[in-house]
Symmetry: D2
Subunit: 335 residues, 4 copies
Amino acid sequence: MIVILKPNAATESIVELKAALRKKGLQIHESQGKTTTILGLVGDTAALSEDQLLTYEAVECVKRIREPYKLANKNVHPKPTVVEVCGQKIGGGHFQVIAGPCSIESEEQITEVAKDVKASGAGLLRGGAFKPRTSPYAFQGLHENGLALLLEAKRATGLPVVTEIMSTSHLGLFDDVDVIQVGTRNMQNFELLKELGKLDKPILLKRGMANTLDELLMSAEYIMAGGNERVILCERGIRTFETSTRNTLDISAIPMLKKKTHLPVLVDPSHAAGLRFMVEPLSMAAIAAGADGLMIEVHNNPSQALCDGPQSLTPPMFDDLMKKIRETVRFFGMQ
Amino acid sequence: MIVILKPNAATESIVELKAALRKKGLQIHESQGKTTTILGLVGDTAALSEDQLLTYEAVECVKRIREPYKLANKNVHPKPTVVEVCGQKIGGGHFQVIAGPCSIESEEQITEVAKDVKASGAGLLRGGAFKPRTSPYAFQGLHENGLALLLEAKRATGLPVVTEIMSTSHLGLFDDVDVIQVGTRNMQNFELLKELGKLDKPILLKRGMANTLDELLMSAEYIMAGGNERVILCERGIRTFETSTRNTLDISAIPMLKKKTHLPVLVDPSHAAGLRFMVEPLSMAAIAAGADGLMIEVHNNPSQALCDGPQSLTPPMFDDLMKKIRETVRFFGMQ
Amino acid sequence: MIVILKPNAATESIVELKAALRKKGLQIHESQGKTTTILGLVGDTAALSEDQLLTYEAVECVKRIREPYKLANKNVHPKPTVVEVCGQKIGGGHFQVIAGPCSIESEEQITEVAKDVKASGAGLLRGGAFKPRTSPYAFQGLHENGLALLLEAKRATGLPVVTEIMSTSHLGLFDDVDVIQVGTRNMQNFELLKELGKLDKPILLKRGMANTLDELLMSAEYIMAGGNERVILCERGIRTFETSTRNTLDISAIPMLKKKTHLPVLVDPSHAAGLRFMVEPLSMAAIAAGADGLMIEVHNNPSQALCDGPQSLTPPMFDDLMKKIRETVRFFGMQ
Amino acid sequence: MIVILKPNAATESIVELKAALRKKGLQIHESQGKTTTILGLVGDTAALSEDQLLTYEAVECVKRIREPYKLANKNVHPKPTVVEVCGQKIGGGHFQVIAGPCSIESEEQITEVAKDVKASGAGLLRGGAFKPRTSPYAFQGLHENGLALLLEAKRATGLPVVTEIMSTSHLGLFDDVDVIQVGTRNMQNFELLKELGKLDKPILLKRGMANTLDELLMSAEYIMAGGNERVILCERGIRTFETSTRNTLDISAIPMLKKKTHLPVLVDPSHAAGLRFMVEPLSMAAIAAGADGLMIEVHNNPSQALCDGPQSLTPPMFDDLMKKIRETVRFFGMQ
C-alpha cells in the first residue's frame, strides 16, 4: 500500500501517522520527492482500509497495490480450482449446466423437469424452496416441503441439487443439499457467509446486483476464510439505467474474474435478461467469453410458473439449446 | 392493473388467460378498441406480478395502476405516522437527530460520545456492535459486548439507542435495544424483515445501495405485514457512476417518499458522501427537502476510529452543526 | 398509445383532453371500466410524447404500445439491412472487421498498420483525425492532415476507411471518407445527425455511454428521417458502477437490437473494456451473441500511441485474433 | 503524478519508460522500496494521461495527485468567480434565479411569461429556440424566429436572456443572447466548447447525464483554455437505476464542486426530477447545499406546452416559490 502525504503536512501529524502504522506491525519505506512524500507500507495490509488511513491529517491519498483478497487470489493460487459435486466437475476446463425451475411447486413438476433436463444433458438440478420475492404478498416458496420434493427428484434422477438459502436459521434443513446457493440479495449477508464457511459443501455465490467484482471476491473470501474453499462464482446481471432488459449481463466479468481468481465462474443468462429469447444468445456469449458453466431456468409450463415465467424455457427448448451448448463448448476447447 | 393483448392473439390463448385471471378471483373488464384489446383487472392485484402475466401467449404488455404496497401506502393511510421511541417523536413535524460512532469500541468511547451528543441536543444514540464489513479481515464489531456497552451508555445518558442487526440468530440479544436498524446490505434480507415484523419495536430501514424507492417500500411492507407498523425509512446514498463521493445522496427520495408513504424519512449524510466536509451541506439540504430527521456519525477520535473515520465529526464539530440544524429545522417549520 | 384517466377526473378536464387529442388528428377509442377509464389512441402517435399527455389534469398515466421509431423498426422492415461499403457487405449474415489505430499519427504509422490489418483480413480501416478528448490539453488529432494520411493509406491498401466526425463545420473534409463515424459523446448531437441524414454515405453510429437502446434507435431515426438509411449501430460499453473495466459491454444489446431493428450491429471490444487482454474474449462473445462485425484498435507501437494505448493490439496479436474470429464466425454460420 | 512499477519489471523496460518521460519534459524522482519502485513525476502532468502510462511494460499502476484541470481549479484561483450578466451577479454570495419556458412558442407566450417571472423576481429569462429532442418527430423549436421572440421579450422586460446552442453553425445567431447554454447532451461536444471559448460572453454549462464532476470541470476547462473564463456550471440530475424520477439530482455535486472550483454552480430542479411537485423541495435543498442560483421552468399554460409540460410551474406557482426562495436565500446568508 502506498500512502501519499499532503505537501504541507505538519511534522507532528506525520509522526502520529507513522507511529500508528508501526503499531499495526507494518514496515514503512519512506521516499521524499521534491514535492511529495510517499510511504510504502510492507506487511499484512489486507486488514487495513483506505478509509481509515484517510482520517489522518497528514494523508493526501492512498493507493492499494495488492488486492485485499488472499485465498481467492489467482496470484496466490494460480491453478484453476475444480469443484467436484457428486462426481460432476466444474472449472479448469470442465463445463457444467445447472438447470431447473425457479421455484419448486409440486412433486410432479420438479420430478418431471428433473427427468427432462437430465435427458437433455444437464449436470445438476436447480430449484428454489426459499424464494426472495420483492413483495411479501408474492409466493415465497414451499420451504421444507420444497426441499423434500427436490431431494425426491434427486433420488429419481441421480442429479445433484442446487438450492438457495436465505437465513442461517434454515441451515439445518440443507444437510442433504449438494450445492448451497447464495442469492444476489444476500451476497453481502456476511453472517450467512461466515456460517457457510464452516460447511464442507460447495457454495454457489451469486454477484449482487450492484456489487463490484472486488466485492464479490471479498464475499467469496468470507466463505473461504472460514475454511470452505469450494466456492463457485456466478454472474447474473447488474443494475444499470437500461430498461429493455431486467438487468445488464456483465460479460466482461468473466475474463476479469478469470484474471483475478482461480475459482470457477458460471453465468445465469435467465435472470440477467429476464427474457426467454435472450437465453440462447447470452449462453453462447458466456461460453465464448470463457465461463465454466451456465445456470438456466426450465419449467414444464412457464405460463403457470409461480415465479419468473417469462424467462423460463420449456423442456423442448432446453433440449435444443443443450445441443448448441455442447457443440459450442467443444468448439471453444472445453469438455 | 391493465393488460394489453397482442393485436393478433389467438382466441384460445385469450380464453386461457381469462380463465386463469378469474381463477385468481379477479374481475375482468374488457374493452375492444379498433386495434387493441384491453383487460382491466379489478380485485386484489397486489400479489399479481407483471412477470407472470407476461408469460401468457396473448399478452402484449401490462401496466400496474395501483402501487403494490398497501400498508405503507399514503393513499390508504394519509396521516403521517409519528414513531415514538421512549418519548422521542419522529415524523409528522417532529424532527430528530440520531448521533454516535459507526462502531462501539470501548466503554469510554461510547459513553463519552453519548454524553457529548446528548449535550449538543441529539435525541437518540447510534453505535454499531455488529458491523457489515466488505472484508472478512476488517474489524467486525464487539458483538454482545458492544451491545452491553451501548446499553450502559443509554443508562448513563438516558438516550434511547439505535443499533444494527445482521442476522435473525442474534435477535435475542436486541431485547433492550430501542430501535433496530436494518442496514443497506440487508434491505432485501426478507427472512430478517419477516422476523422484525413480529416485534413490538421501531425498525429503522435503510435503503439498499441499488434499490428503487418502490423496493424500499416493499421491504417496509414486509415488516408491516407481520404486524409491526413502526417503520422509519432512511435514505443513505445510492450507487452511481460518480466516484468523487462514496455514494450519491438521492435527495429527491425525500419528497418522493413523502408523496408515496406516511412513514417517517430520515437521511444519513455521513454514509452518503463518506466525507466529513459534506455532512453539513447535506444535512441542510435534507432538512430543506423535508426529511424528518438525520443520522450522523460522531467519534471522539476519528483518526483512531475502527471504521468510517473519514466521515465522522468530532463532538465539537457536531455541536456546531446541531446549532445550525436547530435553526434550520425551525426555519422550515418543524420542531 | 393507451391513456389511463384518473378515477376522479373532472368531466371538463376529460373534455379538454379529448379535444386536444382530436385536434392532433388522433382517433379516440374510449372504454369505461368499473374503476378506470381508458382512452386508446389510433393514428400517428410517434410525435406524441408521454410527457405532454401527463400535463393534462385528467391523465393518470400513459403507456406507449408501439415503438416511437418507424424507419429503424424491424416490424416495418423485417428483412435485415445489408450496408455495402466499396463492395464490403455488413449485416444480414455478412460479418466485417474494422481495424486500425485510435488516432492517425503519421503517414508511416497509418500506412503500416493499414497494410498489416489488411494482410490479416480486416475489411475496413479505422483511424481518428478528430479526437474527442476529455482534456483540452491532450492530443486532439491531426485534423485535415490526418484525413489526408488516412486517404493515402486507403490508396495504398484499397481498404475503405471509417473515421469520426465531431462537428457539422468539418463536413466538407469528409467527402472521400467511406463511412463517417458518430462517436459516443455525439450520439445525441442532433444537429450533426440531421446533417448526416442528408448524405449518401454509410454512418457508423456509436451508442452513448449512458443511452438506452431506444435512444440509440431514435438517433438512428434522425439520420434515416433525413433520407440516409445506411446506418450501422455500434455497442461500445455503457457507464456503470463497476470500476475494474473502463465501461461495461452490454452484450444483451446485440440480441435486443436484432429484435427491434433491421440495422446491422457492430461491437467495439477495445473501448468497452479499455484493456488489451479482454479484446479476444469480448470479440468471441460478440460473435456468439450475433453481432454483424467488430471494431478493433490496432497500433504498431501501443506504448507510443498518442491515445488509448492500453487497449490496442499489436499487428501480430491482431493477426492471431483474426484467425480465431474467422473460425468462430464460420462456426456460428456467418461469412 | 505517481507511477508505481511492477515488482519484476525488466531493467530495459524501465529505461525505456524513463526516457519517454524525460522526453516529455518531466523530472523523475525515483524511490526504491523493498518491494516497490515508485517514480514521482514533476512538471506539467495535465496533458499526460494515465492510460498512456499504462501502456509501458514496466508500469503497474498510476495515481494522479494533482487535478488535471488548471484554470477551473480552486487551488489556483481560490476566490469565487462572480459572473456578471447585464448587471446581474452570479456567484460569490450572489444568488440568481433564471426562469422561463422550456421552449419559446409564440410572442405572446414568451413575453407574457417574461413579464410574470420578472414581476416575481427572476433575474434572467430562459427559453429554448433550438431544442434537443430524443425523437426527430417531436417539436424541434422555432430556431431563428424563436431567438427573435426571445430578444423581443428581453426588450419588453429588460431581463437578460439565456438560451441553448446546439451547433457551431448557429453561432452567428447568438450575438445578442446574453448567456449561451450548453445542454446536457453537448457537454462533451468539444468542438462546440472550443468555439465558445473564443467568445466574450458567459456560458452556462450543464452537466452531462452520465458525466462525473471531473469531466464537467474538464469541459469548463475547454472553454476557459480558449480565453473565456465566464463559465457557470449547472447540475441537472444524473442517470441512475431509479425510475420514479426522470433523473437523480446529485445534491452532493454542489459542495463538491464548491471545493474543487471557483466557478458558480446552479441547479436545475425542473429537469432533475421532471415533476412539478418536486421543484419546490429540490429548490430549497439546492439553496441549503450552497448553490449560487436556480434555473426553473415556468409556462403560462403547461398542458399546452410543446415540451416538458409536466415539470413546468404556472406563473402563480412560481410567484409563491420565489417568496420562499428569497426568504431561504436570506436565511442561508446570501443575497
